[in-house]
């Protein structure tokens, strides 16, 4: 272990963590606005990866250019899923029911993907996926740099949308208190639908990077959703900033521990930190302490 290796692991952690943060942002946005734990977020990421794969392999469309198609497509998928299944969930059991409903959605999409693409692993390829640039003696893969840049752009866009637009005000009002938001004339149902669509849409971008850096099949969604849930729990359920910090923190800690103490300790160290944080702040790093009433 040397200083370069440590620095390398931190850079890797920040670059990779930002993409996880992007995927988790969608999940936490959905929870914050709708009180829904979308456990289908993992399969939406994989769906995004498969869409990029199909466009790349069958139409020769570059992975990043393809996002112009996959992001709107997944937005529509999100809106349809929300309209068809989630608007019907009401009452005090809403959170628990949302887990079951979105799990069912996840299973259906997984089955369809298995039928269409089989269970064979695939991976996205482009000239920049396997290449890297040397900076101060450290090789930085283009795909991680591009993924980081994309995550920054998309998260900035999300921030601008939330804090500089009228719709963003509606979202933030809904995040704070749905009943009060409705009382001041905000169409909370519409906000919820659009937020679910946005939350799913970001998985297209995350899925593309995931698919370019990992061989995947539909079952890879289980690894993803468990990781994304951990991120939003650590960051604070419903906190977009929390998802950003926790996503980067999780991967960076794992990578750093892997280099300093050995790979076998990486997960353990992260979960130890998670337990400590949740013991001191059960609501997560940036979560609200109040309990939302549906």
């Amino acid at each position: 272990m040397n200083g370069t290796a440590v620095l390398h692991s931190i850079i890797d952690g920040v670059l990779t963590g930002s993409v996880y943060a992007l995927m988790a942002t969608g999940l936490t946005l959905i929870f914050g606005v709708m009180n829904i734990i979308n456990v289908a977020q993992g399969i939406f990421v994989i769906l995004g990866a498969y869409l990029s794969y199909a466009l790349s392999v069958h139409l020769g469309i570059d992975l990043f250019v393809g996002l112009a198609i996959t992001i709107p497509t997944l937005f529509v998928v999100g809106v349809v899923v929300e309209r068809l299944f989630l608007t019907r969930i009401k009452g005090p059991e809403r959170v628990v029911m949302s887990i079951l409903v979105t799990y069912a959605v996840s299973l259906v999409i997984e089955g369809v993907l298995n039928m269409v693409f089989s269970t064979n692993y695939v991976e996205l390829h482009a000239w920049y996926v396997d290449r890297s640039v040397k900076v101060f003696g450290i090789y930085l893969p283009y795909i991680y740099l591009l993924g980081f840049a994309m995550a920054v752009v998309l998260l900035t866009a999300l921030y601008v949308m939330l804090y500089r637009t009228r719709f963003g005000s509606s979202v933030r009002a809904s995040l704070a208190d749905q009943t009060s938001a409705a009382l001041v004339g905000i169409n909370v149902k519409r906000v919820s639908t659009v937020c679910f669509g946005l939350g799913v849409a970001v998985t297209a971008a995350g899925g593309m990077i995931y698919g370019a850096t990992n061989a995947f099949n539909a079952s890879s969604s289980y690894d993803l959703i468990s990781r994304l849930l951990v991120i939003i729990v650590l960051g604070g359920m419903g906190s977009i900033g929390g998802a950003l910090v926790a996503g980067i923190m999780m991967v960076t800690i794992e990578d750093l521990v892997s280099v300093v103490w050995g790979p076998v300790w990486s997960n353990l160290a992260f979960f130890l930190i998670l337990v400590v944080v949740l013991s001191l702040r059960p609501q997560g790093l940036f979560g609200k302490q109040t309990v939302r009433v549906a």
């Binding site: 890297s132 061989a215 079952s219 890879s220 468990s226 990578d255 997960n267």
Partner: protein, 416 residues
């Protein structure tokens, strides 16, 4: 996070599990008396990983079991009884596999059981099945932990995994000093399939004077391999032995190696490169060139039984001999072992089948000769090393084997 994902899946199927357990609790004590009424089918139960981490292997196993059953039924089934397979999905989780076998025996009253995929799942499955007195013939549970569990009912038709890397290690050691690599890195997943292979190989390689410059294990749940692969690259070993269980692990290491501009002279992974087109599609055809994998079977095997099976596979599923996953052959061999045992014992009595398989008898299969020792290990198969050479997957080791192709060494540069 695979461990978490397993927990998550367990959570997802908990209701099914509870229902199955409830059924088991009311019907336990299923018999395996071995008699089936005339005209009734023989029901064989298996749990396979049709989804989850091992889904690729699990579905290949399903093809192998189905292929064997179809072939056997064409020839009159087993002792005149048509074979029916009942295959349940264990989602690649050790808890679900136990539930499945309990349900298969107690609720479905299967006559015989076939094993699941992977050592990780075979051990809990064999334990569960042994409580009912059933034999478990399997083709993918070759880890020492399976045989050291003191079970009398488990029989692995495939190669015991601990010896998988021996031909590769012996080949390295046999190279003239001028060509022999000086350094080696070992990195392995904490899995019962991968971990036992490394010390056996290391002993041989170390004795040949090749210095170990990196030796680490990583959790089977890892999803980000970049820092581990970067550390291996930084060690700059001339040879890398990767203890992997699937394609994504190998693919992630290869991608990180290429990004780090690190190209070892020889690279072998314990599993992943044997997955045919799936592997090549994941890593890219150029990068597959020169990558090695240990195994006991390949589609080009000259074994007549294997040739017949491969022809039937291609007829049914399409593709070429190179596309046939070794899992298919391992599953098919399980069926062949049971065929021989049922014929020899004249029935479906699991106690008699267990006694027969422990008798030291040799059974011919698509994997070659199968003969079980007292632990249920098949001590007959030869371990081979295979290598991707261009678009071909060829046998390269043992180098003395008449069918062996010359090893591509040093490995060509990454090329995507």
């Amino acid at each position: 996070m695979k461990g978490n994902s397993r927990l998550f899946r367990v959570f997802g199927v908990v209701s099914i599990s509870l229902a199955s357990l409830a059924a088991v609790s009311t019907t336990s004590g299923a018999s395996s008396s071995g008699t089936i009424a005339k005209g009734q089918p023989v029901l064989i139960g298996a749990s396979l990983s049709l989804t989850g981490d091992f889904s690729g292997d699990g579905q290949a196993f399903q093809q192998g079991y189905n292929l064997w059953a179809a072939d056997q039924n064409k020839n009159g089934g087993l002792l005149g009884h048509k074979i029916e397979l009942k295959i349940l999905n264990d989602t690649s989780t050790p808890t679900q596999v136990v539930t499945n076998y309990q349900a298969l025996i107690s609720s479905d009253h299967v006559n015989l059981t076939f094993g699941p995929f992977s050592s990780l799942l075979t051990l809990p499955a064999a334990r569960a099945v042994s409580r009912y007195g059933y034999a478990m013939v399997e083709g993918a549970g070759g880890a020492p932990s399976v045989f050291q569990a003191g079970l009398h009912n488990v029989f692995d038709a495939a190669l015991p995994v601990a010896n998988g890397l021996v031909p590769f290690a012996q080949w390295l050691a046999s190279l003239p000093a001028s060509q022999r690599p000086k350094t080696i890195a070992y990195v392995t997943s904490t899995d019962p399939f991968t971990e036992p292979q490394i010390p056996v190989a290391e002993k041989i390689i170390k004795a040949a004077g090749i210095k170990t410059v990196y030796y680490k294990t990583f959790p089977a749940e890892a999803t980000d391999y970049t820092p581990i692969a970067d550390a291996v690259a930084a060690a700059n070993a001339q040879v890398v032995i990767l203890g992997s269980v699937d394609v994504p692990t190998v693919s992630a290491f290869m991608q990180a190696f290429e990004q780090a501009h690190y190209n070892p002279k020889a690279f072998i992974a314990t599993a992943g490169p044997d997955q045919g087109k799936t592997f090549v599609n994941a890593v890219g055809a150029g990068n597959a060139n020169g990558v090695m994998v240990p195994n006991a079977w390949f589609g080009g095997s000259s074994n007549p039984e294997s040739k017949t099976m491969v022809a039937e596979y291609i007829k049914k599923y399409g593709g070429t001999a190179a596309d046939v996953n070794a899992d298919v052959a391992e599953a098919y061999a399980v069926g062949q072992v049971i065929t021989a045992a049922v014929k020899a014992t004249g029935g479906f009595d699991n106690t008699k089948i267990i006694t027969y398989l422990h008798s030291g008898v040799t059974i011919q299969s698509v994997l070659g000769a199968v003969k079980f020792n007292s632990l249920g290990e098949n001590n007959q198969p030869t371990a081979y090393t295979f290598q991707w050479q261009g678009a071909k997957f060829v046998e390269v080791n043992p180098t003395t084997d008449p069918g062996a192709t010359k090893i591509l060494f040093p490995k060509p540069a990454w090329k995507n």
